[in-house]
Symmetry: C2
Subunit: 398 residues, 2 copies
């Protein structure tokens, strides 16, 4: 059996049909620009890419109806064992993949208070799949779940404790599925049981986060109650003096909505460079055009990654290695080199040749033999979701 | 000659008369509860402590008039060479102690945009001293000055670059006078020229900050545009997911003033413990009464100090040692032990006996002989202000 993996955003649906045992992708694709008359769905199957304009209503349901049609015409529907949904916020309630029942839907909805942009979109995907695949069980795999092992000292903010007790304001962390996957892969590469592995994992994509893993478990992470905390990212500023927010509002005439938009959509690599949120574009501008702002944006980005990685050495007494993943971690030898150069006091030393060679899907250790390992690992959240969905069904059946 | 050192807050004036060559304090004291009818001034001279109720008007001028009277009756006025003022925010303009002219006053006033609570109070002190000591030169020593050597990668926030260019929004850092003083002392103890010293300095008082010092110069620090960023402190939360601020305003009905008050006055040790902002009180509650909230507050406090110290290993390629100063750093063996325990990957190992012995004004290395040094140093910002004021006058005279 295969598992249909769904990652639903407010105006997009990413999907893939995956074999849970080996991660093989049978079909994948993306519906985007939903809720506009430019809505489109792209489906990839065995090297063949197709694209369809959607007809009205231009919504998630219509997109899934096209997907069902295609799955039927490719004879793939009958082998689907279940649907696995990426759900962003599971609060303190969910530390494991969970079969979606009406009660669970209700809780995911309530958790929207903590993730107003994400959970409602995830619920739209769940509803649409329930309609499209009435006979299939639906499973929620939470982006926060892996971090539920964090100790109190890592998840309690320095504010009134009642805000935690009454309003669940605490660190949750995100990218959990990715950090979990790459940690497991790293354990294999290090030839050590995951339960004995102490690692620092850097997921560097459009969103960026660091997780520190002690004996296989997440014990701290840089994203917080929301995915805006911690590292600087494509368009998010990450950590920021809250006095700046008060200053923007009190002295510079910003509304709180303006500030929210500024720090989440117009900051980060884009904000400093004034050019792009895309690492590739900035690298090209820096190297080919000597663009100083692009260089500054990338330099700040890397320094903050290095500081964050280094900070988590305080969470461990042993450290087996560093993991680099996500679009930037897997591909940008420049960023990796800048970051690892700044980690010499933690005994990380880059092998420049291996660094250049390990890109575009290649994986392996890019450090010298005397250094702690620096493992480049291609993440695969979809596979984890398929695997965990499949396991839950097996356990449920037994 | 001696120097009168003034540290003026909105409702208080701290003062001391100091010999710049050796730091000897001839007289010191504090006027507090100013602008209320409980205004009082306390003066200490040669082990004798006196306290006077002020008469109306209960303001800074009246307080200084009482001080002048006392200085006269003790025959101390004629030896005062100048007045040195602690000024909190010097922006990018001031990286050195500066003779106060009308232009400088104007700039300090303009910098109030960045430090609305502090710079106006500092100006009140300057005005009052100009009236009280008309024949004396006044010098400003800025809390931000020592950090003006930070590189761009440390001071640029991950937001639109125009906010730096047009509104001077960047990291400035504070406690500069203290970090500078303890770094110089550490260099002496390490028997190395300060220009060759690489240190991480933790100033832990009511306000808390970490500074990383490369070849004697500040290259990064945890406080930011305002003194609210970075570590958790007595009543300030330090780093906080900005998404929490939006959540408090958008979902929980806080005004921006409420949030400002929450994060600056009701958070930190006080916020988590619900008991006190005072480290001593919390330690007693934790040890004598098994108070869990006090323990949690102190545990989070220490973990965050350790993470911040560790993060600055990314700013250095060599590290000569750690400095602990401020009321907590100088006295709390419990906090020091908790912090240093979490720095083993950076090769810091505490000597428990030395740790217990080095308190209440004692200074020295509390690490084992195989560890990097951990130096407890009693800070003395007043001495630095006196010294720098005196030097400026000497240089001016030549
Ligand atoms: N060859 C490359 N060199 C540098 N950066 C790259 C390269 N390929 C992809 N990236 C960067 O990866 C980022 C996107 O990462 P990805 O993990 O795909 O995003 P998401 O977080 O949305 O899943 C972009 O900033 C992109 O520029
Ligand atoms: N013996 C002690 N043990 C623990 N903490 C102490 C001790 N003495 C002072 N402190 C703490 O030092 C802090 C005040 O530090 P200080 O540097 O004097 O403050 P400020 O930043 O206002 O100058 C308080 O939290 C106080 O509890």
């Amino acid at each position: 059996d295969s598992i249909l993996v769904i990652n639903c955003g407010s105006s997009s649906v990413k999907f893939s049909l995956i074999k849970p045992d080996n991660g093989e992708t049978l079909l994948s694709g993306l519906a985007e620009r939903l809720l506009t008359d430019e809505a489109v769905i792209k489906i990839e199957h065995k090297d063949e890419k197709k694209s369809y304009q959607l007809t009205s209503p231009f919504n998630h349901q219509t997109a899934l109806a096209v997907l069902v049609e295609q799955l039927q015409s490719l004879n793939l529907v009958d082998n689907i064992g279940a649907v696995g949904h990426r759900v962003v916020h599971g609060g303190e309630q969910y530390s494991k993949p969970t079969l979606i029942t009406p009660e669970v839907e209700q809780e995911i909805k309530q958790l929207s208070a903590l993730a107003p942009l994400h959970n409602p979109a995830n619920l739209i995907g769940i509803k649409a799949c329930q309609a499209a695949f009435q006979h299939l069980l639906q499973v929620a795999v939470f982006d926060t779940a892996y971090h539920q092992t964090m100790p109190e000292k890592a998840y309690i903010y320095g504010i009134a404790y009642s805000l935690y007790q009454e309003h669940a304001i605490r660190r949750y962390g995100f990218h959990g599925t990715s950090h979990y996957f790459v940690a497991k892969q790293a354990a294999k590469q290090l030839n050590k049981p995951i339960e004995q592995c102490n690692l620092i994992s850097a997921h560097l994509g459009n969103g960026c986060s660091i997780t520190v893993i002690k004996n296989g478990k997440s014990v701290d992470t840089s994203m917080g109650m929301t995915p805006g905390e911690g590292l600087m990212m494509g368009t998010r500023c990450g950590d920021l003096d809250s006095g700046i927010i008060f200053h923007l509002v009190n002295s510079l005439g910003y509304s709180i909505e303006d500030v929210d938009k500024l720090v989440n959509k117009e900051s980060g690599l884009l904000g400093i460079s004034g050019l792009s949120n895309d690492c590739r574009v900035l690298q090209a501008a820096m190297i080919d055009d000597n663009n100083e702002q692009a260089k500054l944006a990338l330099t700040v980005f890397c320094y903050r990654i290095a500081k964050s990685i280094a900070s988590y050495s305080a969470s461990l007494t042993e450290l087996d290695g560093l993991i680099l993943t996500g679009g930037i971690g897997e591909n940008s030898s420049w960023v990796r080199s800048e970051v690892i150069k700044q980690l010499s006091l933690l005994n990380f030393v880059l092998d420049e040749e291996k660094n250049e060679a390990t890109r575009f899907g290649a994986s392996g250790n890019i450090a010298t033999s005397s250094s702690r390992p620096c493992l480049v690992i291609t993440t695969n959240e979809e596979w984890v979701i398929a695997e965990q969905t499949s396991q839950l069904l097996t356990n449920n059946a037994n």
